[in-house]
């Protein structure tokens, strides 16, 4: 079937086969490979996108259900000139190593700050607990976010 959706502010059309996930359509059909396929069962958050305002694992969303939806991926957060503050903070704090989890963390953290501009350390940890990072031990990622929320570094 054909679905029409808005991705990062652009109207897009995609052909969807059967039970295909939104993640697959984003990566393979719409050629937006920023969202990552690390576990494909909703455990690691590497495929996080914002779907109609909600943070979701795009690997768990059926693309067929996304007709008319508004989707924001990691590719939609920076503009031509400036990084999103979360992106800049992660680079600065050393929150990126292999970077495979990074798109998911960027999307989840940006979504958190949009709804709670001054989260406590515990709130940040809770909000990001659905994103797995195997490289950093999370320290630098948490320091990056605390640098944006006025927390201690």
């Amino acid at each position: 079937m054909l679905i029409e959706l808005t991705v990062n502010g652009e109207a897009r059309v995609a052909t969807v086969n059967g039970a295909e996930s939104l993640l697959n359509v984003l990566r393979n059909e719409l050629r937006l490979p920023g969202s990552k396929n690390a576990c494909e069962q909703g455990e690691c958050g590497s495929c996080s996108v914002v779907l109609d305002g909600e943070l979701v694992c795009s690997c768990l969303v059926m693309a067929a259900d996304c007709d008319g939806a508004d989707v924001v991926t990691v590719e939609g957060l920076a503009d031509d000139e400036w990084l999103h503050p979360v992106q800049a903070a992660l680079v600065e704090a050393g929150g990126v190593q292999c970077g495979f989890c990074t798109p998911g963390f960027v999307v989840a953290a940006a979504h958190l700050l949009e709804h709670n501009p001054a989260p406590s350390r515990e709130e940040i940890e809770e909000a990001l607990s659905g994103n797995i990072c195997r490289c950093t031990g999370y320290g630098a990622i948490l320091r990056a976010l605390e640098s944006l929320t006025g927390g201690a570094s």
């Binding site: 990552k36 069962q41 690691c44 495979f100 515990e122 797995i132 320290g139």
Partner: protein, 739 residues
């Protein structure tokens, strides 16, 4: 005379320089192997064994080949060259040879128009098995002499005795590296019978050595290219989909891409060896070690991979960083029908550290002395002989300083109080705060740096001068650890030139950089870059009679003699280096000799809160002090230490493969537990900077020590909290409540 004011080069050694791939990674633009794409490419998929051991009684690929959109269905009969591969022993069939020897062993590979079709083709293959009893017990395999390697170490007097004796048995589970990026790659036929491969790797040259013979091609006909890697930790050190991709691309004449899903990744790469260890420590009443005896059995799984090198580490580091004149070690890596094992961060040093540090705590308790004091009485120092091999320790080895620095880090306040988020078990609200018990534990870990036992370990790098700076060419693999940044920093500091670009060469363009493993690339490829930069700078200064060099050109007494552009206009200027570390040697029949090029040590202190009724653990913090030689990039170093510690914490309380008759029962991120933000301890660290005898600017590799002693420190802290004996990792709730 006018002397222009020129600032010292920026972005050099010692600064927390941001990584050049940082921005591409945060905006989602960095191309990982799984993101590669080529016009007209096919997708590959693999039929894998559902048995740990079985004979194939029927195999018919025709139904798969008959499907629309399927272009190739290949079995072992379609491998044109050598039928087997392997890094140290070529014992693994490219595709099953008629008997499957582990659960998930590849049997058939297919290429089709898309992934769905490829998977349908795999399902359509007509195959039947006669299941055989899998050999799953490494001790039984040892008894049958079905082993990859034995290590025998005899030093001093095996009959020596001490008044105080402690004995223990210990186990560590097999750990999955669980890099977030799964195995992935793209192979493209070159149109002349050869092939180019971009795939997840830690060492493209050793992949290349194994790939081209299986394809029946000359070395020059196969090119392995570095590709974007989503983490490694040892999982990429051995071949996974590499040969399969090349076979499919050559057969179809089209680009072929393959990406393992997570379940396939669990069976598709080698893991950390499960270990069984028996220890006997004897000491005098003053706490000085008199004799250490150890027996170590590693389960190597079905094929050799790097088991023999992992075993060597387990044997050579079986005593830890302690003086002891009488040592007996017997170690074996056994062949079973369990998942094949190989490299993972710490590489054999992890397993034995869990055992010998538990033994040191037992000994301290028996003697009634502080556990750190016991360690201080026994620590090795430069010039001492290694307890196992007798090798005299060269270079820096500040073990005592590491322990002292760790102890000076303040302990945290008492148990957090009533916030359920800070209690064991979290917001389940099942733990009453007054039942929580706190424990503190210490451990010290020790490992070699770079390759050992006479292996010809080298790294090549080439620095090419450009009109605006330099290019550094290397085939060394950046897996996320920060090698690219560190090489830029080294080149800048030596040359005085700020504009440094790393160029990732393929196997046809430059010689090997060796593996991104064994904590070796900062020293090895970093060493090659350092040496090339020193020589290039010297040449330019001599040629133009200069006294300084920067991005503008060569200078003499404050005036520019020649610009980089003019230097380049007169011909290509480059410096190529093959860098080697100090020579190492194989040991003799008693394990005696000089097998190692260098060492590093770290110590960890874990603080845990335990719910003794439910067996739940919260790792509150893990502090550390580490011997680093010299820190080249503080932010990157901190990231290595924090990340390495969390993998060690994982092995302590979360991570372990669950096997049943060779099958992995927890091959998913739902069932194989990885630490999240809520599980991660706070970490405070101290770096002990004593420059080593080799390595750029005195730097040591820093990637592995954080993972080695963090595991035993956490377990020691749990023992301290609840006072019970814990002999295996991961420590599960049932171990704590005593079920």
């Amino acid at each position: 005379m006018t002397v222009p004011t020129r600032v010292k080069v920026r972005g050099g050694v010692g600064e927390s320089v941001a990584r050049p791939d940082g921005i591409p990674k945060v905006v989602g633009a960095f191309a990982y192997a799984s993101d590669l794409w080529a016009e007209g490419m096919l997708w590959g998929a693999t039929l894998r064994s559902p048995h740990a051991r079985a004979r194939i009684t029927r195999l018919d690929t025709a139904p798969a080949l008959a499907l629309d959109g399927v272009w190739a269905v290949l079995t072992q009969d379609d491998v044109p060259g050598a039928p087997t591969f392997g890094q140290l022993q070529r014992d693994q069939p490219v595709l099953c040879d008629g008997e499957v020897r582990y659960w998930g062993e590849p049997i058939v590979v297919v290429a089709a128009d898309d992934l769905d079709t490829a998977r349908r083709a795999v399902a359509a293959i007509d195959i039947a098995y006669e299941p055989l009893d899998p050999q799953i017990d490494p001790e039984e395999a040892d008894g049958r002499d079905d082993v990859f390697r034995r290590m025998r170490i005899r030093r001093g007097d095996a009959a020596a005795t001490g008044e105080i004796v402690v004995e223990g048995y210990y186990e560590t589970a097999s750990q999955d590296q669980a890099p977030l990026g799964t195995e992935a790659g793209l192979a493209i036929p070159d149109g002349h019978g050869g092939v180019d491969l971009w795939a997840t790797s830690q060492w493209v040259h050793v992949d290349h050595e194994q790939i081209h013979p299986c394809l029946g091609l000359d070395p020059g006909e196969v090119r392995c290219h570095p590709a974007g890697i989503g983490g490694a930790f040892g999982a990429r050190e051995d071949i996974s989909l590499h040969i399969h991709l090349c076979l499919l691309a050559l057969r179809t004449g089209r680009p072929v891409k393959m990406v393992y899903d997570r379940a396939e990744s669990f069976v598709g790469h080698v893991k950390r060896h499960a270990a069984r260890m028996w220890y006997r420590h004897e000491a005098d009443p003053g706490g000085n070690l008199v004799k250490v005896e150890a027996r170590v059995v590693l389960d190597g799984g079905a094929y050799a991979h790097t088991s023999e090198a992992v075993l060597a580490n387990a044997a050579y580091f079986a005593v830890g960083p302690y003086r002891c004149d009488n040592v007996v070690v017997d170690a074996v890596a056994a062949r079973t029908n369990n998942p094949p094992c190989g490299a993972m961060r710490g590489f054999g040093a992890v397993q034995v550290c869990f055992a010998y540090e538990a033994q040191m705590d037992l000994l301290a308790a028996r003697l009634g002395i502080d556990s750190l004091e016991l360690r201080r009485r026994n620590v090795l120092a430069p010039g001492d002989p290694m307890p196992t091999t007798g090798q005299r320790i060269e270079g820096a080895l500040p073990i005592r300083e590491v322990i002292d620095a760790l102890e000076e880090i303040p302990l945290p306040a008492e148990i957090a109080g009533n916030d359920p988020r800070l209690l064991p078990g979290g917001t389940g609200l099942t733990t009453p705060p007054d039942r929580v018990r706190r424990g503190v534990g210490y451990a010290v870990g020790f490992k070699n740096l770079a390759f050992s036992e006479g292996f010809d370990d080298y790294a090549e790098a080439r620095i090419v001068l450009t009109p605006t700076g330099v290019e550094v060419h290397t085939a060394a693999i950046e897996v996320g650890q920060g090698l690219v940044t560190v090489c830029q920093q080294i080149a800048r500091s030596v040359l005085g030139i700020e504009q440094v670009t790393l160029v990732a060469d393929d196997t046809s363009e430059i010689g090997s950089a060796g593996s991104t493993s064994a904590s070796r690339q900062t020293q090895m490829t970093g060493g090659a870059v350092h040496q090339a930069a020193v020589e290039l700078r010297r040449r330019l200064l001599v040629q133009y009679d200069g006294d300084d060099l920067d991005d503008d050109g060569v200078w003499r007494r404050g005036e520019m003699v020649v610009s980089l552009a003019d230097v380049c206009a007169s011909g290509k200027v480059e410096q190529h280096v093959r860098f080697r570390h100090p020579e190492t040697h194989p040991t003799d029949e008693n394990g005696q000799g000089d097998p190692h090029a260098g060492f590093a040590v770290a110590a960890h202190r874990a603080v845990v809160d335990v719910d003794p009724d439910l067996g739940l653990v919260r790792v509150v913090r893990v502090d550390t002090a580490q011997d680093v030689g010299r820190i080249l990039n503080p932010t990157a170093a901190r990231g290595q230490v924090e990340g390495g510690i969390l993998q060690g914490v994982g092995l302590a309380v979360l991570e372990g493969l669950v096997l049943d008759q060779g099958r992995i029962l927890n091959a998913s991120f739902t069932d194989y537990l990885l630490a999240t933000t809520l599980d991660a301890p706070d970490v405070e660290m101290r770096f002990i900077e004593q420059p080593d005898h080799w390595g750029p600017f005195g730097a040591k590799g820093i990637g592995e020590p954080p993972t080695i002693s963090s595991t035993p420190a956490v377990v020691a802290a749990i023992r301290d909290a609840i006072g019970c004996h814990l002999y295996r990792v991961p420590v599960l709730p049932q171990d704590i409540v005593g079920l």
